[in-house]
């Protein structure tokens, strides 16, 4: 054993490696990405790691490895599980031979996601066991235990951390390499009665799964990470006051334990396996209690389970939480919100607490402390923006310029380019989920044939889930323009390689999948590739292509500025600048500022993309080559 300062996601990867994982697959998505990246960096000899093209493929690759007796780990974020849900639901019936852990990171807030969906529901829905770690150290140990459970019960299992566990760091105890488990897969053994899903097999396995989950619930009641924490000292007045307890899971458990250092002494039930629920342990916790407050993020899963148990066993225990509006039902918990919730709970009159005003509960967060700075000067608002020099800005601007005055809809997608919605670009009219822009554009065009319908999609997203949309458009003779924003990386999640880059997570070089060739193969009417940083050419290209009949595409190709050496910086000639501010009004580039009424380009941000100089009517913006101030 030794100590390392690790991010929760790094700890999960190291835990999987210590458990002898043979294969890791996944698709990037905040807050899950670093698990696979760390697995690639620190993998033991013989371990295979890949970024798959999307979550569905990743799930299938990991399942195949587990069929062959390997220990496999598949990683994704919560919305990625929606993509992988088809193989997941069937795999739950078939099961595995080698241990398989499905790492799905949930994102309360949401901090960087489309939804606040709760993977614990997916565990229930698919009837699979689910592990919910509360800290980096626990996640490290839990992933190893998850592999053991998976193998013992021959079923895939979920490990579901949330953002603050994934991205929290801690100095934790990890195994030395000579303490690692070495797992030798014994290979795939043909058995069509086991591996080929048919209605009869599903029926039989359904019966087994239900029986197994009863056993698992029993097993989990004895699992050391499900635990009742009894207070050191008993409550002061035990006769009159209602006996209260708190149930929590995940990061909220740590907030509860921090709060109880000063807020009071009540028993706490920590739920580390929300499915199957540790019923026997919960009964032991509920015994003698009058009221329980449930503190958890996303949906009231623990709360619902406790309600079910109280109903099943006719227990006269009041269960409070999101359903009773004692706790806010959206957004992430914080140390402060949990402290406030506990204070309210312990201060409530014992007889009948009643439900507090829901609106008031949503606002408990800040109060006294933020009131302290109520007299502060107005604070700057800093919405996330496209980086200075980002080629997406140029692409959006080219389409905007080309289509000025025309009736248009711009269907966006998931990636850095979602930020194209910000003023002044204002170029994202819709955004739903990965790859959806294509379908939305087609649907709108069916209802509004006089609208120029555009779908914007990034290169990684194109491979992940836009190709079927393009095939659909061609097959059904849609009229739309597909804009591919090809920056040769998966930028938003931290620059992962993808099929178009020709690089893999094993460090190898593979043949690049050519987006233009793919689109031509599908049969698009017109496909053109252009550099978005050449404004005039880009605008002409869009104008010409958009007028073609049927399905056509423009590929804007220019590398992500975050992984490219800057070309230089732009300098503004004071004697030429007429202070018309066109550059600022139309581009919204973070490098362009107004200081004492004059336009300046911040040399520490400017990359010399020259987009501003191409639209400057006074010719006042000149490029300085070399990039010496921006090394």
């Amino acid at each position: 054993m030794h100590k390392e300062f690790l991010m929760g996601n790094e700890a999960i990867a190291l835990g999987a490696i210590a458990a002898g994982v043979n294969l890791v697959s996944g698709y990037p998505g905040t807050p899950s990405t670093e698990v696979l990246e760390t697995a690639a960096k620190r993998k033991a000899h013989g371990t295979y790691v890949e970024w798959s093209v999307n979550e569905k493929t990743a799930m299938e690759v990991a399942a195949g490895a587990a069929y062959a007796g390997a220990r496999s780990l598949v990683t994704m974020k919560q919305v990625g599980l929606n993509v992988a849900s088809d193989p997941l639901m069937s795999l739950a019936y078939i099961g595995v031979k080698g241990g398989m852990v499905i790492l799905v990171a949930d994102d309360p807030g949401p901090v960087s996601s489309q939804t606040e969906q709760d993977t614990r529901h997916f565990a229930r829905f698919s009837k699979l066991p689910c592990f919910d770690p509360s800290s980096a150290q626990e996640a490290y140990e839990m992933v190893q235990e998850a592999f053991s459970y998976s193998e013992r019960y021959q079923t895939p299992v979920f490990l579901r951390p949330t953002t603050r566990v994934c991205h929290g760091y801690a100095s934790i105890n990890v195994k030395d390499t000579d303490e690692y488990t070495v797992h030798h897969p014994d290979g795939f053994i043909k058995d069509s009665g086991r591996w080929v899903i048919f209605p009869r097999l599903s029926y039989q396995n359904h019966i087994r799964i239900e029986e197994r989950n009863v056993r698992l619930s029993e097993d989990f009641s004895a699992y050391e990470r499900n635990k009742i924490y009894y207070p050191q000292e008993s409550p002061k007045d035990s006769s009159a006051a209602a006996q209260k307890g708190i149930a929590a899971g995940g990061i909220s458990f740590t907030y509860v334990m921090e709060a109880l250092k000063s807020a009071g002494t009540v028993p706490v039930l920590k739920v580390s396996t929300p499915h199957p629920f540790p019923e026997r342990l919960a009964l032991q916790f509920l015994d003698g209690l009058d009221e329980v407050l449930c503190l958890e993020e996303l949906d009231p899963v623990i709360e619902n389970e406790l309600l079910r148990i109280c109903g099943k066993f006719h227990l006269p225990v009041k269960i409070y939480g999101k359903l009773t509006h004692h706790v806010k039902n959206a957004g992430e918990n914080s140390r402060d919100s949990v402290y406030q919730d506990i204070q309210n709970f312990l201060g409530l009159p014992a007889q009948d607490a009643g439900a507090p005003d829901a609106a008031a509960v949503q606002k408990t967060d800040s109060k006294t402390f933020t009131a302290k700075t109520a007299d502060a000067p107005a604070l700057p608002i800093r919405p996330p923006v496209l980086c200075a020099g980002c080629p997406h800005r140029a692409s959006f601007y080219a389409v905007k310029t080309a289509m000025k005055g025309k009736k248009t809809i711009f269907c966006g997608d998931i990636g850095c380019y979602t930020l194209g919605n910000a003023m002044p670009l204002d170029m994202v009219d819709t955004c739903l989920c990965m790859g959806a822009g294509l379908g939305i554009a087609q649907g709108v065009s069916r209802i509004e044939p006089d609208t120029y319908c555009f779908a914007f999609v990034g290169d990684s997203t194109f491979f992940a889930s836009a190709i079927t949309g393009a095939v659909n458009a061609v097959y059904n003779q849609a009229d739309m323009t597909l804009i591919i924003l090809d920056n040769s990386t998966t930028a938003m999640t931290g620059h992962q390689p993808h099929p178009g880059t020709g690089r893999t997570m094993m460090g190898g070089v593979s043949s690049k999948v050519d987006i233009e060739a793919v689109l031509r193969g599908i049969g698009l009417a017109a496909v053109e590739t252009v550099d978005p940083l050449d404004l005039e050419k880009a605008v002409t290209c869009v104008k010409r292509t958009a007028e073609e009949p049927g399905v056509k595409a423009v590929i804007f190709r220019s590398p992500c500025i975050a992984v490219t050496k800057p070309a230089g910086t732009v300098r503004i000639l004071a004697d030429k600048c007429i202070s018309c501010k066109k550059c600022i009004r139309e581009l919204g580039c973070p490098a362009l500022t107004v200081t004492d009424g004059r336009i300046c380009a911040d040399p520490s941000l400017c990359t010399g993309c020259t987009l501003c100089s191409q639209l400057c009517p006074a010719g006042a913006m000149v490029m300085i080559n070399g990039g010496d101030s921006n090394e």
Partner: protein, 196 residues
């Protein structure tokens, strides 16, 4: 020792490296450390923070309101934003150089950094203002802002770590070619720390 430390600024200012150095220095002294920081979309020009917690008996990496021993503000407005986290007698170390949000250039609503510093002076007794532009100029690199603030935090006494602790962490975490520059920043700030 138990310490709660908040680092805040704007994406790209180097808050993450500074929090890594603090954590490494604490680990070198065999102290348990936890931390949490902004990752993802908000990093692109948005407000960013790191919470660093040092000591025994910790459950959560997050710091609660009124619990921070010290705030390292890489930007005056961001330091004010984090003030609710500061203990009543907590320290603030802040760079005086404001960073204008993109929205300021668009709407003409630039904010005043001096006003923020003035507000901090009114609210915080143990305040150190780092003349970062001047200091970076003297040292010869804009990249030492994080080390200047770390150095000022050491000098304030509220960090619970010594300059030598930070020096050792720099040696361990950064490539050798950057050592001299960062040590120069530590030395500069030791000689020029100005309690406001």
């Amino acid at each position: 020792m138990n310490k709660n430390i908040i680092l805040c600024g704007v994406g790209g200012q180097g808050t993450v490296l500074a929090s890594r150095l603090i954590s490494a220095a604490a680990m070198d002294r065999d102290l348990p450390v936890m931390s949490a920081e902004t990752i993802g979309m908000a990093q692109r020009g948005g407000s960013v923070f790191s919470h660093v917690r040092i000591g025994n008996g910790l459950f959560s990496p997050m710091i609660a309101y009124g619990e921070a021993d010290i705030i390292l503000g890489f930007e005056p407005g961001e330091a004010v934003r984090m003030l609710p986290y500061l203990k009543p007698d907590g320290a603030v170390v802040v760079s005086c150089r404001p960073i204008m949000p993109v929205t300021a250039a668009l709407t003409g609503s630039a904010y005043n950094g001096d006003e923020m510093i003035g507000y901090l002076k009114k609210k915080v007794e143990n305040l150190t203002v780092v003349e970062s532009a001047k200091a970076c100029g003297k040292i010869g690199s804009p990249k030492v802002l994080n080390i200047l603030l770390l150095g000022a935090a050491v000098q304030s006494g509220a960090l619970g770590l010594s300059e030598d602790d930070i020096r050792t962490a720099i040696k361990r975490l950064l490539p050798e070619k950057f050592h001299k520059l960062n040590f120069a920043a530590l030395e500069y700030i030791r000689k020029h720390t100005l309690n406001a």
